[in-house]
C-alpha cells in the first residue's frame, strides 16, 4: 500500500537529504521518528492512568573508511546537522586495522502507509477507558479471591523516516495496538498470577470483543491457587504452540543472530552451515515479511527489505540472521534483521517472526504413549545464555498413562542448545502464530515487537526445575 507523500513527509525528506549531503563521511544514515501513543491502565478497581504521549527524536550513524561507527541520538531535532558532525568525528576517532564493510543493498525509495481497521488516534481517550474498564471488570467479577488486577490498553503510531548517503529514502507509518490482562488471585498466603496479552500492528477494531481473554486471565489465576508445584526432574515434555514458539526463539533464534558468531572463529565453527542440530522433523525460520504479524515490517532499520530466512531445514543449519555489517563479514547476504527499538539506539541483529514449521497430527498423538510426563502450556518468558536457556510456562498438566492429568504450577524448563533440539521427537500439524504483547530484549533494547509461531512439540526428555527429594 503506497500513499502519496504528504507535505510533511516531503519536508522531512528535504531536511534529511540536505543534512546528508553536507557530511564528509563515506557512509551516513539518518533515522527520524515521531510517535504519538496512548495508554490506559486499571489496577484493581482504580484507574491507574489514562495518558497520551509524544516521543520524537533521531539517530544518525556514520562510518568513515577504516574507522569505527560513530552514532548520535537526540531529541532536539534542530540539532541534526550538528549531530551528523559529532558522529563523523566519533567515527574518525576509532581507527581499525580490519575495516568494517557493509554488504551491498540496492538503494530504494518507498513510502508505506498500512490501512488500519480503525485509526486509534481518532478514538477519544474516554472511549478507550470505557473499553478497558469493562474488560477489567470481567476479571474483578470472576471471584472475590481476585485480589488485584492490571488491565492495560495501549496504542502507538510511529512515523518513521530513513535516509542514507547511498540514496535510500524510506517513510513508514508503523502502528501498534495491544491489550494486557493480569489477574492476581489470593487465598490466605497463597498468591497466584496469570497474564494474557495481545499485540498487533493493526487498528482499533482489532482489539474489540476480547472479553474471553480477560475472563481467562482471572480463571487461570484462580485455578492455580489449588495447583501443586511441579516436582523437579527430567520428563518427556510436550509444549503447546505458544511455549514452543518461545522455545524456538530462545533455543535457536538468538544463536542465529550473526553478531554472536561473526567475529568469533570458535563460534563460527560451532555454527557451520550444514551442521545437524535436530532430527529431520525440525525446520526453523524467521520471516519479517509474513503478512499481518507484529514482527513484520517492510524494511529493517538499515533500509534492507525484510524476507523469509530458513535457519534450520530438516535438522540442518542452513542460514542465519544478518545486518549489512555481519553479512559482509561472513560473505553472506543481508536478511533485513537489523532492528532498533527506537531512535535512542542504533540497529543490531534481531529476530522478527520466528517459527517452527508444522508436522502432522495433534496433541493426542503426542501424549498417547507417554506414561509420566509434563504438558507445559502458555509462556511467561524465556532467556538464553546461548548454550543454556530457560523457558517458563504459565502452567502445566501432568501427563499420566497417555492422558492429561492434574494441573501443576511453577513449570520452568531448562534447555540446552545441543541436547534439546536433538530431543524433539514429535511435531504436530497444528501450527499457530502467537500474537502476544511484550517483546524481546537484547543489548539493552527492550521490548522489541516480535512474533513466534509453532505447533505442539514433543521432547523425549527435558529438565523441569522444582522441588526435589532429599
Amino acid at each position: 500500500m503506497r500513499a502519496a507523500p504528504g507535505g510533511q513527509v516531503a519536508a522531512v525528506r528535504d531536511r534529511l537529504s540536505t543534512a546528508l549531503k553536507q557530511t564528509r563521511a563515506d557512509y551516513a544514515e539518518v533515522r527520524m521518528e515521531r510517535s504519538r501513543s496512548s495508554r490506559v491502565v486499571f489496577r484493581g478497581r482504580r484507574l491507574e492512568l489514562a495518558e497520551e504521549s509524544v516521543d520524537a527524536g533521531g539517530c544518525v550513524r556514520v562510518l568513515s573508511r577504516g574507522c569505527g561507527w560513530g552514532v548520535a541520538s537526540f531529541t532536539t531535532l534542530d540539532d541534526l546537522p550538528k549531530m551528523l558532525d559529532a558522529a563523523g568525528e566519533m567515527s574518525r576517532a576509532i581507527v581499525l586495522a580490519e575495516p568494517i564493510r557493509l554488504a551491498e543493498t540496492a538503494p530504494r525509495e518507498d513510502e508505506v502507509v498500512p490501512e488500519l481497521d480503525g485509526d486509534p488516534l481518532g478514538v477519544p481517550l474516554a472511549e478507550k477507558r470505557r473499553l478497558l474498564e469493562h474488560l477489567n471488570g470481567l476479571m474483578l467479577a470472576a471471584s472475590d479471591k481476585i485480589a488485584d488486577t492490571a488491565a492495560t490498553y495501549s496504542d502507538e503510531r510511529t512515523e518513521w523516516y530513513y535516509a542514507n548517503s547511498e540514496g535510500t529514502w524510506l517513510y513508514e507509518l508503523r502502528p501498534e495496538i495491544g491489550l494486557a490482562a493480569q489477574a492476581t488471585a489470593r487465598d490466605g498466603g497463597c498468591i497466584e498470577r496469570s497474564l494474557e496479552s495481545v499485540g498487533l500492528r493493526r487498528g482499533w477494531r482489532s482489539v474489540q470483543d476480547r472479553d474471553e481473554m480477560f475472563r481467562a486471565a482471572a480463571r487461570r489465576a484462580l485455578e492455580l491457587l489449588d495447583a501443586p508445584a511441579v516436582v523437579g526432574g527430567t520428563y518427556p515434555v510436550v509444549l503447546d504452540p505458544r511455549l514452543a514458539g518461545v522455545f524456538v526463539h530462545e533455543a535457536f533464534g538468538h544463536l542465529s543472530e550473526a553478531d554472536f558468531v561473526y567475529e568469533n572463529p570458535q563460534a563460527r565453527e560451532m555454527m557451520t552451515l550444514g551442521r545437524r542440530f535436530g532430527s529431520d522433523i525440525v525446520t526453523i525460520g524467521d520471516d519479517g515479511s509474513a503478512p499481518g504479524l507484529r514482527g513484520t515490517l517492510p524494511y529493517d532499520d538499515e533500509g534492507t527489505p525484510t524476507q523469509r530466512t530458513v535457519l534450520v531445514r530438516e535438522g540442518m543449519l542452513v542460514g542465519r540472521l544478518h545486518s549489512r555489517e555481519t553479512a559482509a563479514a561472513m560473505g553472506e547476504h543481508p536478511t533485513g534483521n537489523a532492528r532498533a527499538i527506537s531512535f535512542r539506539h542504533p540497529p543490531i541483529v534481531r529476530m522478527t517472526n520466528t517459527y517452527l514449521e508444522a508436522g502432522s497430527g495433534g496433541l493426542d498423538d503426542l501424549i498417547a504413549d507417554i506414561r509420566l510426563g509434563v504438558y507445559a502450556v502458555d509462556a511467561v518468558g524465556g532467556q538464553t545464555f546461548l548454550e543454556n536457556f530457560s523457558f517458563s510456562a504459565a502452567r502445566g498438566y501432568m501427563i499420566r498413562n497417555g492422558r492429561l492429568a492434574e494441573l501443576v504450577k511453577d513449570v520452568v524448563l531448562a534447555g540446552n542448545l545441543f541436547q534439546s533440539l536433538q530431543s524433539i521427537d514429535g511435531v504436530a500439524g497444528d501450527f499457530r502464530w502467537n500474537q502476544t504483547g511484550g517483546g524481546c530484549g537484547k543489548g539493552g533494547q527492550v521490548p522489541l515487537p516480535v512474533t513466534e509461531g509453532a505447533p505442539h512439540v514433543r521432547f523425549r526428555e527435558l529438565l523441569v526445575g522444582g522441588e526435589v527429594g532429599g
Binding site: 484493581g44 484507574l47 558532525d85 576509532i94 545441543f418 526445575g465
Partner: protein, 444 residues
C-alpha cells in the same frame, strides 16, 4: 566538539507550569536532560562510539480534583503537553494529596567533574585496560564503557523547586569462550558517579578471569535439597520477591505477603536491609526524590524484623501514611515507587569460610530467566547459567544443565551464613554473598 544546544530546563518548566496553573489546582513537573557517551568494544577492539542526548518533561496536574499526567520529548510544544495532561485528568481518578512545599534538601555530591569531562579517548583508555587483561586465545571479549551527565530540574505549584546534576560512569565486560560445543559466558560490571580507579578495573577483569578458571572443569551437578552459596549476582532471584513485597503499592493492592506484618520478626536476625539515597558516589543517590521529597535513609528490615515499606506521594496518601521519598518518574507515565540505593548488610565470613559452611552443595553465580514467574509470592525456579559444585568445602568444577528452585520467604527465615564482601550491583544495590539451606537442585 560533542556539543549541542543546551536545553533551558528552568525556562521550559516555568512556562509549562505557568500555562497549567491557570487551569489546575496544583501541578508539578520534572525535566531530565541527559547526555551519554558510550563506547563499545567487540572482539577486543573498539568498534563504536555513541552519543545519546535526551531531554524529557513529565507533568502531573490536579484539575477539578482529578489527577492527570503527560510526558513529552518535544520540549518546544508547551501547549500540547498541558492539553494532554488536562485530557488525562479529564479521565483521571478523583484524588488529591498535598505536594511537598519548599524545604531544604540534604547536601550531597552527585556530580563529579572528571567524570563529566571524559571524552572518547579517556573512556577508551578505561575500556582498553580491562580488555587487554582479558585478551587470550579463545576468549571473545566484549566491553562497554559509558559516562552520562544528567541535569534534573523540579518545580511545583506548592513552591518546591530544585535542580541537581549527576554523573555516572559504567564499565562492563563479558568474555564468551566457545570450546567445541561448550559455551561459557562470564561478565562483570562496575558503576559509580566518578571515574573508576585502576584497581577497580583490575578487580573487574580479575573477577571474570576467576569465574572462567573455576569453570575449566565441567562436573556433574549435585542433586537434592542442598546448601547453596549465592554470590551477589546470583542472589537476584532470591531478593527480588522481597523488593517487590516491600513496595507500598504491592501492599495497597493487597498482594504483598509482608503486609500487616510491620514489627514482626519474619527473617533471620542476620538480615538487615535498608534503602539509602545519601551514599556518596552511588548511582541511586540524589538530594530529593522525583516528587520533591527530601532524601533520607530508611531501614526496611532490621535484624530480621520488618520495619517499613517504601511509598511515593500517591500510595502514601492512599495508605494514610507519609511518603518515604521513593517517588520515581520517567518522561512518560505516572510517578511510581522506586528504590534508591539498597544495602543488604554484610556479615563476617570470607569465601573460604562460606564454602566450608556449604560443605557439599552449589555456588550460584548467575541464573537464567530471573523475574519471570510468580515473583511476589516468593517462588523461584531457574536453570543455572553459571554455577559450581562444592565438595568438602572446595570448588569441584562448573555445573551445567541444573536448575535451582525454592521460596524466598522460607529460605530467608534461616540464613546459614552471610559473607563480608558485599558487592555493588549496577551501582545501586550492595549485596553480600549468602549461604541458604535446603535449596532444591535438580539436574538434567
Amino acid at each position: 566538539m560533542l556539543g549541542r544546544s543546551p536545553v533551558r530546563g528552568r525556562e521550559v518548566l516555568d512556562t509549562v507550569l505557568a500555562r497549567a496553573k491557570r487551569r489546575v489546582d496544583h501541578a508539578d513537573a520534572l525535566l531530565r536532560d541527559e547526555t551519554q557517551l558510550s563506547l563499545r568494544f567487540e572482539s577486543g577492539r573498539l568498534k563504536e562510539s555513541a552519543l545519546r542526548q535526551e531531554a524529557g518533561l513529565n507533568l502531573r496536574v490536579f484539575a477539578g480534583g482529578r489527577l492527570g499526567v503527560a510526558g513529552t520529548t518535544d520540549l518546544a510544544d508547551h501547549d500540547d503537553v498541558v492539553a494532554r495532561a488536562m485530557a488525562s485528568a479529564g479521565q483521571g481518578e478523583r484524588l488529591t494529596f498535598d505536594l511537598p512545599c519548599s524545604s531544604p534538601l540534604p547536601s550531597l555530591a552527585t556530580f563529579d567533574d572528571p567524570a563529566a569531562g571524559m571524552d572518547v579517548a579517556s573512556l577508551a583508555a578505561l575500556g582498553r585496560r580491562v580488555v587487554e587483561q582479558l585478551t587470550r586465545p579463545g576468549w571473545q571479549v566484549s566491553a562497554s564503557v559509558e559516562r552520562s551527565v544528567e541535569r534534573v530540574e523540579f518545580a511545583s505549584t506548592a513552591g518546591q523547586r530544585f535542580a541537581y546534576r549527576a554523573t555516572a560512569v559504567r564499565v562492563g565486560a563479558e568474555v564468551m569462550r566457545v570450546a567445541g560445543d561448550d559455551v561459557l559466558m562470564a561478565f562483570e560490571d562496575a558503576a559509580r558517579s566518578g571515574v573508576p580507579a585502576d584497581e577497580e578495573l583490575d578487580a573487574l577483569a580479575g573477577a571474570i578471569i576467576r569465574k572462567i578458571r573455576r569453570a575449566e572443569r565441567v562436573v556433574e551437578a549435585p542433586e537434592g535439597k542442598l546448601p547453596v552459596l549465592f554470590t551477589p549476582s546470583g542472589s537476584a532471584a532470591v531478593l527480588l520477591p522481597l523488593r517487590q513485597a516491600l513496595s507500598g503499592k504491592t501492599v495497597l493492592q493487597g498482594i504483598s505477603p509482608l503486609s500487616g506484618k510491620l514489627g514482626e520478626a519474619l527473617f533471620d536476625p542476620a538480615l538487615t536491609f535498608a534503602d539509602d539515597p545519601l551514599v556518596p558516589g552511588r548511582l541511586g543517590s540524589r538530594p530529593a526524590d522525583d516528587e520533591g521529597v527530601p532524601s533520607r535513609r530508611l531501614c526496611l528490615i532490621e535484624g530480621g524484623t520488618l520495619r517499613a515499606f517504601v511509598y511515593d506521594l500517591e500510595t502514601a496518601a492512599r495508605a494514610a501514611t507519609a511518603s518515604t521519598g521513593h517517588g520515581r518518574r520517567s518522561t512518560f507515565g505516572k510517578p511510581g515507587i522506586g528504590f534508591s540505593n539498597t544495602l543488604l548488610s554484610p556479615g563476617a565470613m570470607d569465601e573460604a569460610a562460606l564454602l566450608a559452611e556449604v560443605g557439599h552443595g552449589l555456588i550460584v553465580d548467575e541464573l537464567i530467566g530471573v523475574g519471570q514467574g510468580n515473583v511476589v509470592a516468593g517462588a523461584f525456579s531457574h536453570p543455572v547459567a553459571l554455577a559450581y559444585r562444592v565438595d568438602g568445602g572446595e570448588i569441584a568444577g562448573r555445573v551445567k544443565d541444573a536448575a535451582v528452585a525454592g521460596n524466598s520467604y522460607e529460605l530467608l527465615r534461616r540464613v546459614r551464613a552471610v559473607g563480608r564482601d558485599a558487592k555493588w550491583i549496577a551501582g545501586t544495590r550492595s549485596v553480600p554473598p549468602l549461604v541458604l539451606d535446603a535449596v532444591n537442585v535438580a539436574r538434567g
